[in-house]
């Protein structure tokens, strides 16, 4: 029953691989700056939520516990963004 | 009492309480010397009173831990202690060596004591908390080895429970880290560095294992919650305690000449040290809320809950207050440290020893729990000591904040002694709170002698 839920683990894995390769390309190209940081943070949040939901099984867990991981991701990426923003100015 | 050999715990507990009284008396002397510098001079100078106050604390806590181990290990292992005779012999050796050491502090000038005991052969003296003469330190090692052998054999031959194994790990760690007391390098940075391996890795490392296992044992007994549940909590708590506490040692390395990265490591990891204490609080209240029986010893339940709360406040919150390197830059070595030290030692280690004594002593005296009047008095003593300790902590914190403000943070810093005079009022209030603590302690001791109708307790237990 779980395996039928979309997106299934393999699709999630594929998305994670693509996002990781994209991150690597950005790194090798030496791209930087606020926009790139924002894109990377978004990609981190997406990847993290996918791992939590599809791999850790948080998708089926009561929302309070699920929110701990999602909240962690949002707070960490949000504050990293803030720190980078203060670094620019 | 399920096993006859558990009885050896009794003298250990009695000695612990006796030395506790001594510790508090010297604390009061010292507290007065803060505001009346020449009080009892030259008989008991401040540095001697301080040494006796801190050394007695460590020694009586060790008595308490050993008593706790002798009480709970046979019950957990479901067999008699390997050698009750050895336990009793070690008790007397430890007590006499301890008493002689304290007398040495009081009667002989410290330098003379060092000379008398041959400190020059293997210099280990003269360092805070590790002031004991080298021969006393060797005695401690002998006692610890005999003790570990005794309970180790008992545990390995009997039922191996998580409580027992965690306790044994903690006690082995205690002995191992004490060995750094013998390492006394010339280099002052290295000296301090490894000195913390004893001091910090005891109280913020392996002692937490001892604390956790004793607390788990008492909760197991008084709540009747499944062992499986309690063991899992214990595992997670000690894992967190070690993850945060071991690298958290770095919060002592900020300003002693150790590499700079310790400021980051120490800050980050020690900032997490409140987590295991917080988990301990959740754990204790949870287990009590889910209790399956009303244990007649309500005083022990109170001590157990009190330990969890006060350990979190004293070790967790008050530790966190000044653990981050940028904060600690201003606060290290001020009365903030003293405030934290008082509440953390009381909340975590004094209270856990009083918890196990509260639970075990009636059983050692042939009852399930103390009679109602004794328990009521003991609970009053709990509140007297705990509340007065909260006030001692608050007054010292107030003193510390002013001290930091005037002596460290200010653009025109004042001299140490000038500031000390300005915060005198806080020291007076601390001394008064200390007297209330003493009253609580007297009530506590008195509670062991209160007679009452034992049947009342028995019927209350079933009600």
């Amino acid at each position: 029953m779980r395996a039928k839920t979309f997106p299934n683990a393999f699709v999630v894995w594929l998305i994670l691989v693509l996002l990781t390769v994209a991150t690597w390309v950005i790194g090798e190209a030496g791209l930087g700056g606020p926009l790139v940081v924002a894109v990377l943070l978004l990609s981190i949040t997406l990847k993290g939520q996918l791992v939590a939901d599809a791999f850790m099984g948080m998708r089926d867990v009561s929302s309070s516990w699920r929110w701990v991981v999602s909240g962690w991701l949002l707070i960490v990426t949000g504050l990293i963004g803030l720190a980078y923003w203060t670094g620019v100015h | 009492m399920q096993y006859q050999s558990q009885a050896v715990a009794k003298p250990y507990f009695i000695a612990a309480i006796g030395l506790f009284v001594g510790q508090i008396l010297f604390g009061l002397i010292m507290g007065l010397q803060y505001v009346m510098g020449d009080f009892l001079f030259p008989e008991i100078p401040f540095n001697v009173a301080r040494m006796v106050h801190t050394n007695l604390l460590i020694v009586w806590l060790l008595f308490g831990f050993m008593g706790a181990a002798y009480f709970l290990v046979p019950e957990e292992a479901e067999r008699e202690l390997h050698s009750p005779k050895l336990a009793l012999a070690l008790f007397w050796i430890f007590l006499i060596a301890g008493a002689l050491t304290i007398l040495g502090y009081l009667l002989v000038p410290y330098a003379g004591l060092a000379k008398m005991t041959g400190n020059h052969l293997l210099p280990t003296m003269g360092r805070e908390f590790l002031e004991q003469p080298t021969i006393t330190k060797l005695g401690i090692v002998v006692v610890a080895l005999g003790f570990l052998y005794n309970i180790g054999v008992t545990i390995l031959a009997g039922r191996k429970t998580v409580v027992n194994l965690v306790l044994l790990t903690g006690l082995v760690g205690l002995a191992v880290f004490f060995l750094f007391a013998f390492y006394n390098p010339e280099n002052l940075v290295k000296d301090k560095f490894y000195w913390w391996w004893v001091v910090h890795l005891w109280v913020e490392g392996v002692w937490e294992l001892i604390l956790g296992s004793i607390l788990a044992f008492v909760l197991l007994k008084v709540t009747g919650v499944d062992r499986e549940v309690i063991e899992k909590w214990l595992y997670v708590i000690i894992a967190m305690a070690l993850i945060t506490g071991v690298i958290g040692t770095g919060h002592h390395f900020y300003w002693i000449g150790a590499p700079e990265y310790w400021q980051w490591w120490g800050s980050i990891f020690s900032a997490m040290e409140p987590i295991p204490f917080f988990m301990m609080t959740v754990f204790a209240f949870n287990m009590v809320n889910r209790r399956r029986r009303e244990h007649p010893n309500q005083a022990a339940v109170l001590w157990a809950l009190g330990t969890a709360v006060m350990a979190f406040l004293g070790a967790g919150v008050w530790g966190f207050l000044h653990t981050l390197a940028p904060v600690n830059y201003y606060t290290h070595g001020t009365q903030i440290t003293a405030a934290h030290g008082h509440m953390a030692f009381y909340g975590a280690y004094v209270m856990i020893v009083l918890t196990i004594i509260s639970y075990a002593m009636p059983i050692l005296r042939g009852q399930k729990a103390g009679n109602r009047s004794a328990q009521v008095l003991e609970m009053w003593s709990f509140w007297f000591m705990t509340v007065s300790m909260v006030f001692i902590t608050l007054f010292l914190t107030g003193a510390g904040i002013l001290q930091v403000w005037m002596q460290r943070y200010s653009d025109a810093p004042m001299a140490f002694m000038v500031v000390q005079e300005k915060i005198e009022l806080f020291y007076w209030m601390r001394e008064v709170a200390g007297l209330v603590f003493l009253i609580g302690l007297i009530m506590y001791v008195w509670s062991f002698f209160v007679k009452g109708d034992e049947r009342v307790v028995a019927s209350a237990a079933t009600a």
Partner: protein, 208 residues
């Protein structure tokens, strides 16, 4: 079976008034205690990441200068290794839910081996840095780089130990379709190790 639920999070008051809807919500997979542990670990790493980010804000040029010397390719390959390893752990849990203990054990063994690949690549990376004479005291950037990656490295080792133990137990038939908390527990920890690296790699190796 979850014995450690500490608080009733949602007291089911509505259940009295309204007929119970078919519940999709389930308990956290694995032992509840591991989740307390996972959350605490996430907190430790979270604070470490933020310390990095805010320390960088004060030394942007230093961090940018030295970041470019990191081995991004190894870092990216290691990310792929870990997410693949996580997928193996997912398959192991799926297998034991069907009751296929042998298959579960095999998937776990593959997850552990992937962890081994991560460890080897990481050791090569560390050795390379050591050869260049880079230590914790070189500068603040390298202090963070070495501390964060080493701390995570220790978690990979820990996860491998846990998964190996679970794999051996699965091989011996200790788990079944109805009793497999241990497998879920080990897998959950392993996913946490993966999750942390997913933040760590872009943050330390790429983002500037």
């Amino acid at each position: 079976m979850n014995v450690l639920w500490p608080v009733q999070l949602q007291p089911d008051v509505n259940a009295i008034a309204t007929p119970p809807a078919p519940r999709r919500v389930r308990d956290l997979p694995g032992d509840f205690a591991i989740w307390i542990f996972i959350y605490a670990e996430l907190l430790v790493f979270g604070v470490f990441f933020l310390a990095y980010a805010f320390a960088r804000a004060g030394n942007v040029e230093l961090f940018n200068e030295h970041q470019q010397f990191l081995d991004r390719t190894t870092g990216a390959v290691n990310t792929l290794v870990l997410i693949t390893s996580s997928l193996f752990a997912v398959r192991a849990v799926e297998a034991i839910r069907r009751g296929a203990a042998a298959s579960c054990s095999r998937w776990l063994a593959m997850a552990v081996m992937s962890g081994g690949v991560f460890v080897v690549l990481k050791l090569i990376e560390f050795a390379d840095k050591q050869e260049q004479g880079i230590t914790l005291s070189t500068n603040t950037f390298y202090m963070f780089y070495l501390s964060l990656t080493f701390f995570h490295f220790m978690h990979v080792l820990m996860g491998m130990v846990i998964l190996s133990a679970v794999a051996v137990k699965a091989y011996r038939g200790a788990y079944s379709a109805s009793r497999h908390t241990g497998v879920e527990t080990g897998a959950s920890y392993w996913h946490m190790v993966d999750l942390v690296w997913i933040v760590l790699f872009p943050l330390v190796y790429v983002m500037h």
